[in-house]
Structure formats: C-alpha cells, structure tokens
Symmetry: C2
C-alpha cells in the first residue's frame, strides 16, 4: 500500500486506535463498525472514518472494519511489525515500573537490560532482565544492537548518558528526565512529562467548577 | 482578566509553556522575547505569539514577555494558583515514582497519602507521606478533602476503587491503570498511557529510516 503523508494529529491518535483494536482482538472480536468503535473510544464515528481513511479506506460498507487487518496495518505504520531492542537507564522506581510492563514485548519492544549507578542494584533482575552498572554501558552497546533507550535517571546525569548512547548507535531516546537534550538531528527524542497530564486534569477540573 | 474560549490545542501546550517559564524564573530571567522563547522551546515565534495572545497579549513590543507575570497567569488558567489535595492508589513502583516527584508540590498538588493492598507496605513512608491499606480508603476520604486520585494499580482493581473514590467526593482521576472508567460526567478523568509515547517514538524512527 502506498502511504500518503499523514498529519501529526492523526499520527498522535494512532497508538490509541492500536490499543483499542488490540483489546478487541484479544476479546475475539473480528469486525467492528465505525459507530461501535466510536462508542467504545468516545470519538465521533466521522472522526474515525476520516482518520482511518488516511490508510486507504479499510472499512467496508455494511461490514465495518476487519479488526485484525486494521490492527496489523496500524502496527506497520507505527513500526511495530519489527522488533526494537531497548534498554532502560535508571533502575529506580520509574525504571522498574517500565521494566515491568510486559505488554511492551507484545508490541515488539524487547527490553535487553537496565542500567544504574547504585551498587545495591547490581545483579538484581526484573522479569529475568538484569540490572547492570552504568560503567558497563559502553561495552554493552558495542556488543548489542540497541535502538532505543529510556532515560529514567536524574536530569543531572541525563545529558552525559545521552551522549554515550548516541555515540554508540542508539537512535531513539524515550526521555523521562526533565531536561532538554541537544542531540544530532537523526536521533529521535520523545520527551515525557508526566506532570503535563496532571496540569491538564487540573485545568479540566477548573472548567468543571465554572459550569 | 476576562477569559476567552481557548482551543484544546492551545490548552494542551500550556503545561509546556508553564514548565519553561518556571525554569526561566528559577534561573533568574525576568523577561524574554518571543524569539528567544521560540529558540528555547523549538516552536516558531509566531506560534508562541498566537498562543499567548489568547490570554490578552501579555507581550510588549520591544520588551518581550514578563516571565513571572506570564508564569503566574498561565498557572491561574491551569488552576495551579490553588492547592489540590491528592492521593495515590497503588504504591508499587509507579506509585512510588510519582510520590517522589517533589515538584508536584510546587505546582500546588499536595500528596496526602498512598494506598495499597500489600501488607508489607503498611507503615512505609515516602518523603514522610504514609502508605495506608486500601480498606482505610473510605474513612480517609470522609475525613480529608481529597480532590484528585492517581490510579497506579492493576486494571482489575481500578474500576472498583474508582467507584469508591467518586462516591466519596473525588472529582479528578489521573488514571494510569490501562482500563476505561465509566464515571459520572462531572468527574474528570485523564488517562495516561505511557506506551503511546513509545509508539510515537517508534513511528518517528521509521520516518527517519525512510529519509
């Protein structure tokens, strides 16, 4: 299928479609109409049709969407049809919380190791995956094909570690450290600020009060 | 100041402005031009001017933006000028990671307690804040004015706990449990799916490969 240029707004909604379709697939649902999907996802049916038409109109009149096909196609667009090796730098609470999400593996994200500076964590495993010391990081990267690194370490260390990662071939940084990274243009950085969603919640509570 | 109706897209960018302005304030910066703010935030200066004009044109020609004023005004819009008491349900890794973000307090989010079902966590404190057992939750809510609850517990328990929260006056749910909650319309729910940002990273890596 020839892929058209897709707007950023549509792209940002794809992970959500992917999750819902995954749930449907797990529940044994084979097809779904845009109006049923609309009720489930709390978006208008016309938004769903518009969004999914971007990928060449997978829906069929009177039949609806083939759940498995749509799930697979969206997965391909998101690059989930191939495996991504990733590591987590910072094995504190957040790092360990991420390491415990077994569902990443289902989407092709394979956690290879965690790294920390705390000697008490040396040799600890999480779901069988070992925590290594940061001084082993460079060697580890040279001997393993790691595409993505999650940064769940204090911001004072993030910039230094990011440089080591990039110098050793890491192409994507999932950045939970609260700092901006200045990296080469071909490195993809996704900054995650958990507090942003809390502020949005606060804003919506204020709006609620006004009504 | 009379508040105009602000689009959702602008609202979703406000937490980011708030963060950057907070950093500037901490660094002792008193004013900033839209072009300097633009360079720092990697958005166009015209986008910044457009966004901030929504709040009545705080910028002044030849002077730029007064950082403290803008920070305060955006804080007000986000409802951060008053305190929000909140609790965390689920004191596992993710719950503890959230409890350790002291910076929430600076934005007016006051963590009052964590709750868990694991008896080994009873009496544990995080930054001086106690973990209580979930069977104490209802009493606690009756005796404390809690506005927001973060759900960092397994999805099998989330729906049941959310009902207890809402029945006892909680108005906002910051939902990290991977499940949809059907709650009364006046309850604000902000669903957080960490994996969505990882999928977005994966998508951007794919696009990079194609270039």
């Amino acid at each position: 299928m020839e892929q058209r240029k897709i707007s950023r707004a549509v792209i940002s909604r794809l992970p959500r479609y992917y999750r819902y379709l995954g749930d449907l697939l797990e529940a044994g649902v084979e097809r779904i109409s845009s109006s049923d999907l609309s009720k489930k996802m709390h978006v208008t049916a016309s938004q769903i049709r518009q969004d999914l038409n971007n990928f060449g109109g997978f829906g069929q009149q009177g039949y609806g969407y083939n759940v498995k096909y749509l799930y697979t196609e969206i997965g391909k667009i998101l690059g989930l049809d191939r495996c991504h090796n990733f590591i987590i730098i910072g094995a504190g609470n957040l790092g360990q919380a991420l390491a415990n999400y077994a569902s990443f593996e289902r989407s092709g994200f394979i956690l290879k190791s965690l790294f920390d500076v705390n000697p008490r964590l040396e040799g600890v495993t999480i779901r069988g995956i070992p925590v290594r010391m940061v001084d082993e990081l460079e060697d580890f990267l040279k001997n393993n094909d790691i595409e993505i690194a999650a940064l769940t370490l204090p911001k004072s260390k993030a910039i230094e570690v990011a440089d080591i990662l990039v110098d050793n071939g890491v192409k994507g940084i999932w950045n939970f450290a609260h700092t901006d990274l200045s990296l080469p243009k071909d490195v993809v950085v996704e900054n995650v600020h958990l507090s942003d969603t809390l502020m949005k919640l606060s804003y919506n509570l204020c709006q609620q009060d006004k009504e």
